[in-house]
Symmetry: C2
Subunit: 238 residues, 2 copies
């Protein structure tokens, strides 16, 4: 029997062979032969917005692949303060620390309703021994996570907040024609990403709207009327 979190719902075992985002995730390069080696079940789960997937310090038994939605990885400091160290987007792998130690080094929780696959760590390490393709893919995913973490760090933590927000929007925006839409999260969470208080985020959004850099601020998204203008702003601050 599967354990089902109060806030999550089990959607069945995944069929990786027909997975729609398989090309962008861990099993991208695997062939039929490799798949035949998968014996433990891979669960397909839904979580509601604001629910926790795991906590920093929890015993680490699974890795996860995000299929849909957004997840934050939160690092708690000993003094009680915390920072969002990574924003997980669809196709990303997270919780890989499970392969290295037995505890998670940060907490993961859903920023929106999410849909994810849960992979037992034993499965990955066994498979890693047997399939060099998977192993290569693992190393690649580690690398991507590190690169994302570093550039996130470098870009979202320097300059005036309005500039940081601009960079953030450009990073997460979905472009459709000449317009673009960027998701917004709770102001509190956005503050944790950029190291400011939530009031500051709120003020910065208002100010950017006044400058015509963004429009239609709602609880969950903004529109970018002119991407080039925002890009310019993100580089020169005006």
């Amino acid at each position: 029997m599967k354990t089902i979190d109060i806030k999550s719902a089990w959607q069945g075992n995944s069929d990786c062979n027909t997975c729609s985002i398989r090309s962008s995730v861990l099993f991208a390069e695997l062939n039929e032969d490799d798949f035949s080696k998968i014996h433990s079940p891979i669960d397909d789960l839904h979580y509601e917005a604001n629910s926790a997937i795991y906590h920093q310090g929890d015993f680490a038994e699974f890795l996860y692949t995000l299929r849909e939605g957004y997840i934050k990885l939160l690092h708690l400091n000993t003094d009680g303060s915390s920072r969002i160290v990574r924003l997980v987007m669809p196709g990303d792998l997270f919780g890989m620390e499970a392969l290295l130690g037995d505890r998670y080094t940060h907490s993961a929780s859903a920023l929106s309703n999410v849909h994810l696959c849960r992979l037992p760590k034993a499965l990955i390490s066994q498979l890693g021994e047997e399939s060099p393709r998977l192993h290569r893919q693992m190393v690649k995913k580690w690398g991507e996570a590190l690169a994302q973490s570093e550039s996130w760090f470098a870009e979202l933590n320097t300059g005036r907040i309005e500039v940081r927000l601009a960079r953030f929007f450009l990073r997460v925006a979905k472009i459709s024609g000449s317009m673009a839409i960027a998701p917004l999260f709770k102001r509190e969470d956005m503050g944790l990403m950029m190291d400011v208080k939530f009031e500051t985020i709120s003020r910065a959004l208002a100010s950017m709207a006044e400058q015509g850099l963004i429009s239609n601020i709602s609880r969950l998204s903004i529109q970018i009327p002119n991407i080039e203008k925002l890009k310019y702003f993100s580089q020169f601050g005006n």
Copy 2:
């Protein structure tokens, strides 16, 4: 013939078998058999303080293991600003991006005189195919790099600067008896680590000395008279 950088000096080919820090680096778990597979030369190099090891965007041909000294990894943003994303300490591996793409995603330069080993990327990827032990070790190093990057990010970028500095000292200090000594770098570089201007670092150091948290500020190091006091300060800010 080896190319020798103006600022660096070639110290000969390394003998990994007898390496004094081998246990803490990439080749920790390799056995005689694995070593026999190493054919390309591993160079042993010295660099002077402030010299560059590679630049962001350079063609990535080598990975490096730091044997002695400190190195900063600098991420340049498109707008010209930059951040130090990682402080490399002895035993750390850096430049692993070489294995994933062909360009370095950040610049590496020496904060002090350094002593390092330069490993051709071809060597590592070949060896990785043949030795599962090396492969495991590689994944482990990636993981460590990511963990360091994340906690660096979370701890050195929240709270008043004095608190950040305290956390920094605790992280890099060498303890000897009841005292401890922490290295200091150029104020400019320390500012880039913690996202403040160099004058602010200077003022924070002066203020911390006044509070008795640190003593003997010199250009390159400080003393910590009472580690517990500094720990308390790093958590509660007073």
